[in-house]
Amino acid sequence: MATVHPEVHGDADEHGHPPYLHHHFETPVQQFESDKMGMWLFLATEILLFGGLFCFYSVWRHNHPDVFEYAHQFLNKKFGATNTIVLIFSSFTMAWSIRAIQQGKRVLCAVLLVLTLMCAATFMVIKFFEYKAKIEHGLLWGPRYHPHHEGAEGEAAAATTPGGAVQVPMSQPGAAAQQAPGHDLAAAEANKGSVSATSVARQPQIAESTQEDHTSSIPQQEKPAAGENMGAPPTQIDKTTVADTTAKAGGEAKAGENALKTMVKGQVTAAGTQTPAQPLATGSTQLAATVGPPGVLSEPVPPQFTYPSTVKVEPSKIKPAAIPPAGMADGTVKESEFGPEPKNVQTFFAIYFAMTGLHGIHVLIGMIVITIMLVQVLRGKYNAQYWTPVDLTGLYWHIVDLIWIFLFPLLYLIR
C-alpha cells in the first residue's frame, strides 16, 4: 500500500483538512496508519481467539489420534475443498477491489465486492449442506452424538434421531454418545439375555427404531468400565448411571453389572474378529451367541479389565503421567463400516462444530461488513484519496480466509 494520501483534499474544511480526517489526527497519513495498526491488532486478537480452539485441537489430536483418524472420514472432502477454493478466490476478488478503489475505479470495485459477497454466500450455502448432513446422520457433539451410517437400520434411525437425540437427559451422560450400530446390538442382546423380562418383551421391537430408548440406557456402563481400565477411580456418575440403567431394565443392581460384563465381552469379540457391519438380524444372532447363557454371567465385573491379545487396537497414546478423567478413557471397542470406532468420537465433532461454527460466524460478519462497504462505494464515499475502510475490510476478510485454510487440512485431510 504505497499509495500516498495527499495532505490536503479539495473539500477542505476551515482547518484545511480533508473531510474524512478526524479532528484529533494531524494528517491523513497518521490517521491511515493508526487505523491500519488498530486493525492488525484486532486481527491478532482474532488469531488468539481461534488460537484457543487450535490449542484444544492440538491437545486432543495428540492424546487421541485414533479419534481424529476415525471421525474425519465423516467430513466431506469435496465440500471442504470447494469451500477452500471459493474462499481463496474471494480473497483474490477482495484484494483486487481494494486495488480498484485505490485507482478510483468505483464500478470495478463494486463489481468485485459483489463477487466477494457471492463467494462468501456460496461458502455459507455449502457449509449449510455440510451441517445438514451431519445433523441428519447424528454426527454431533456430546450427548447428541448418535451416528447412523449406511446400512440396514440407517433410514429408520435417521428418521427418529433428531427428536430422540435432543431428549437425552443430562443425567445419562454419553448415553447416546457411545452408540454404534454393532454396539447397539451387543448391548441389546446382552441385556435381553441376562437381565430382564422387560427386554424380552421388547424383543420384537429391537429391529425397529424403538430400540433406541431401550439400548441407549445400557452402553453408558461401558464408560465406567473403560475408566477402570485406565486406572482412574470410578466416579459418582458411574454409580448413578449404573443404577439408572438397572432401574430402566427392571432388574436388580447386580443384573446391571451382568449386563455390563456381557456387553464388554460381546464388543471385544466383535472388534477382535474385525466383523464388518452386518445386517441387523445376523449381527444380533452372532453376538448373542458369543454372550452365552445367562447363568454364566452372574459373577461381578472384574475391576482390572485388559483387552485380549486378539484385539487389534492401537494402544492408548496417553502417557501414564497424565491419567485422564474417567470419561476420556480410550480404547477401540466398536465397529462401523468406517472401521473400528474409538471412544469419544463426539469430541471430534465438538471441535468440528466449534471451529467451523466460529469461523462461519466470522464469515457472516464479513459479509455484513462487505455489504456496508459495497453500499458506501456505490454512494461514492470512497475514492482514490480515501479508501481505508475498504482496505481494512480486506484485511479482515483475508484473516477469515486464512483461518479456513488452516481449518480445512486440520479437520478434513487428516492422516
Binding site: 493508526s34 450427548p143 454418545a177 485422564p324 470419561g327 469419544n344 466449534a354
Partner: protein, 568 residues
C-alpha cells in the same frame, strides 16, 4: 483560573469556565460523548459504584466469619457472596480500574494528544463495560452463582446455579471491552505522539499502560474463547471441558489461567505506573532509573505470559512442568523488585510531600513488598502444596490485588482528582482516610497469613474454633477499612461542593497533563505542546497565591539550569 504560560495549553477559549465539563451539557452530551475525558469520568463513576457493591459483599463475608458457625448466611448464600465479590472486584473493578478510568482520562493528555486514536471504539468499550456490569447485576438479582470467580469445570458445568451463563457472558463482554481499550491505547501511544515525544520521554505511567495494553490485547482473547466454550458447554453440552462428555477439565484451567495470570499483571502494572508518577512528583525528585522502570514493565508483561501453570501445581501437572513454571514464576520477581528499588532510590533524599496521594504511594511500596514476597512462598513447589487453597493464598493475592492495585487506583484518584474535577479535597481528611484504610487493610489480611499457614482453607463458610481469634481480627480490620473507604467517599464528594478550586498544577508535576488547566479544556491542546523531560521539576516553583506550582522561567524552553530549591 490558573492560566499558565505553557505554549500549547489552551486554558481558555473564551470564558474561564470553558473546560471539558462545561463544554456542552445535557444527557446526550455525556452519554454519546466521544471525549476521552468524559468517557474516563463515566468509567470512574461506574467502577466506583461496582467497587461499592463488591466491597459490601466483602464486608458481609467478613462479618459472617466472625463466629465459627457463621453469622449471616446459609452455606450456599455464602458461596454466592464470595463469588459475587470475586467476579465484581476482578472483572468490573480492578481490571478496568486504572487503565479504563484513569488511563482514559490521563493518557491522551500525558501524551500531548487531543484524544485516543479511535473515539467511537472508546465509547463502545465503555458501553460494553456497562452491559457487562448490568448482566452481572442481573445475575446477582436472579440468585447469583456459587462457582467462585474462576468458573472451574466440571463444577461450573454441573452447577445448578442458574446464573452461570449470564455471568460468563458478562465476563466475555467485559473481556472484549478490555481488549478494545487496550487496542486503542496501543495505537494511541504508537501513532498519536506529538513531535518531540520520543519513547523515552513518555511518562512511566504510559509505559505501564502500554505494557498492560499489550497483555490485554494478547491474553484476553484466550479468555474470550474459553468463556465462549464454557457457555457452549453449559448450554449445548459440547463435551469440551466436561469429563462426563469426554472433555478435559484441566484444559479449562490451562486456558483460564493463560488469561487470568497475565490478568494479574493487567491489574498491577498500571498500578505500578500510577505509583511511579506519584513517588516522583511528591518526592520532588527526578525518577531514579527511568529506563529500568520502563523496561521492567515490558519484562513483567512478557514474563506474565509464561507462568500461568503455577496456579495448577496441585492440578495434576507433571513434575517437570511444575518445576519449569516455578522457576519462571521466580523470574517475574526480578522486574518487580527493580521497580521497588527504583522507587526507594527516588524517595531517598527527596523532598517528600506527605499528602494523601504520597501516603498511598508509600503504603503501596510497603504492601506490595509483602504481597510480592509472599508470592515467592507460593511459587515454591513444596511450600505451595501446603499452602494451596488456604487463607495464605487469599492474603497474598489481596495484598497484591487489593492492597496494591486498588489502593494505587485510589492513590491515582487522589493524585488526579484536582485535574479531573477542578477541586481540591481536604488533605487532613485524606490522611485520616488513608490511615483508616491502611490500618484496616493490614488488620484484615495479616492475620490471614497466619491462619493460612496453620491450615485454614479458603472459601469455607464455617471453621473450627481455633481460628476464631484470627477471623475476628480480620473482620474488625475489614470493618475499619470499610469505614475508611466510606469516609474517603464522603470527603471526595464533599470536595465537589465545598472544595477550593484547583490550580493547574497543585503538586508540581512535570508531565503534560499539569500543563493544562484544571479541569482540562475540551480539546486538551490547540496544537502539539512542547515536550520536555517528564520528571524534571527544577523549573517549577510554588506560588502561594494560587496554591500550586508555576513555571519558573518566563520562557520555559530556555535551558537555564535551575537550582533545586523546590519542595514544600
Amino acid at each position: 483560573m490558573a492560566t499558565t504560560a505553557i505554549p500549547g495549553a489552551i486554558p481558555a477559549r473564551g470564558p474561564v469556565e470553558d473546560n471539558y465539563l462545561t463544554h456542552s451539557s445535557g444527557f446526550w452530551s455525556w452519554a454519546a460523548t466521544l471525549d476521552h475525558k468524559r468517557i474516563g469520568v463515566m468509567y470512574l463513576i461506574s467502577i466506583l459504584l461496582m467497587f461499592f457493591v463488591g466491597g459490601m459483599a466483602a464486608t458481609a463475608i467478613r462479618i459472617h466469619l466472625m463466629v465459627p458457625q457463621g453469622l449471616l448466611f446459609s452455606h450456599d448464600t455464602y458461596n454466592k457472596f464470595f463469588s459475587v465479590h470475586g467476579i465484581i472486584m476482578v472483572f468490573l473493578v480492578i481490571i478496568p480500574g486504572v487503565p479504563a478510568a484513569l488511563g482514559n482520562f490521563v493518557l491522551p493528555i500525558m501524551l500531548g494528544a487531543k484524544d485516543v486514536a479511535f473515539l467511537r471504539l472508546n465509547l463502545i468499550s465503555y458501553y460494553m463495560y456497562v452491559t457487562g456490569a448490568l448482566l452481572a447485576i442481573y445475575t446477582l438479582a436472579m440468585g447469583g452463582v456459587n462457582t467462585g470467580w474462576t468458573f472451574y469445570t466440571p463444577y461450573s458445568t454441573s452447577s445448578q446455579s442458574v446464573g452461570l451463563v449470564s455471568i460468563v457472558t458478562a465476563a466475555f463482554i467485559l473481556g472484549f471491552s478490555s481488549i478494545f481499550t487496550g487496542l486503542n491505547f496501543i495505537v494511541t501511544i504508537h501513532k498519536l505522539r506529538p513531535p518531540g515525544m520520543s519513547w523515552f520521554r513518555l511518562p512511566l505511567f504510559l509505559w505501564a499502560v502500554y505494557a498492560t495494553a499489550i497483555i490485554q490485547v494478547l491474553a484476553t482473547p484466550v479468555l474470550g474463547i474459553t468463556l465462549l466454550l464454557l457457555i457452549v458447554e453449559k448450554t449445548l453440552h459440547m463435551g469440551i471441558f466436561d469429563p462426563k462428555l469426554g472433555g478435559d477439565p484441566v484444559l479449562f484451567q490451562h486456558f483460564f489461567w493463560f488469561y487470568s495470570h497475565p490478568a494479574v499483571y493487567i491489574m498491577i502494572l498500571p498500578a505500578m505506573g500510577v505509583i511511579s508518577e506519584i513517588i516522583a512528583v511528591h518526592s520532588r525528585k527526578h525518577i531514579f532509573g527511568y529506563k529500568m522502570i520502563a523496561f521492567s514493565s515490558i519484562a513483567i508483561a512478557i514474563f506474565g505470559f509464561l507462568v500461568w501453570g503455577h496456579h495448577m501445581f496441585t492440578s495434576g501437572q507433571s513434575q517437570l512442568m511444575n518445576m519449569i513454571f516455578s522457576a519462571l514464576t521466580y523470574s517475574v520477581s526480578i522486574p518487580s523488585a527493580i521497580k521497588v528499588f527504583n522507587w526507594l532510590a527516588t524517595i531517598y533524599r527527596g523532598s517528600l510531600q506527605l499528602n494523601t496521594a504520597m501516603l498511598y504511594g508509600l503504603g503501596f511500596i510497603f504492601i506490595f513488598m509483602i504481597g510480592g514476597l509472599t508470592g515467592l512462598f507460593l511459587g515454591a513447589l513444596a511450600v505451595d502444596v501446603h499452602l494451596q487453597d488456604t487463607y495464605f493464598v487469599i492474603a497474598h493475592f489481596h495484598y497484591v490485588m487489593m492492597g496494591s492495585a486498588i489502593l494505587a487506583f485510589v492513590a491515582g484518584i487522589h493524585h488526579w482528582w484536582p485535574k479531573i474535577t477542578g477541586r481540591m479535597y481536604n488533605e487532613n481528611w485524606g490522611r485520616i482516610g488513608w490511615a483508616l484504610i491502611f490500618i484496616g487493610f493490614n488488620g484484615t489480611f495479616l492475620p490471614q497469613f497466619v491462619m493460612g499457614t496453620q491450615g485454614m482453607p479458603r472459601r469455607y463458610a464455617q471453621y473450627i474454633p481455633m481460628y476464631q481469634p484470627y477471623h475476628v481480627a480480620s473482620s474488625v480490620g475489614a470493618i475499619v477499612m470499610a469505614l475508611g473507604f466510606l469516609f474517603t467517599a464522603f470527603y471526595l464528594l464533599h470536595s465537589l461542593y465545598r472544595g477550593r478550586k484547583a490550580p493547574a498544577n497543585p503538586w508540581g508535576g512535570a508531565t503534560l497533563e499539569w500543563a493544562c488547566s484544571s479541569p482540562p479544556p475540551h480539546d486538551n491542546f490547540a496544537f502539539p505542546p512542547p515536550v520536555t523531560d517528564p520528571y524534571d521539576y527544577s523549573n517549577l516553583v510554588y506560588d502561594e497565591k494560587i496554591g500550586g506550582y508555576v513555571p519558573r522561567a518566563p520562557q520555559p524552553g530556555t535551558p537555564t539550569p535551575a537550582p533545586a530549591t523546590v519542595g514544600h
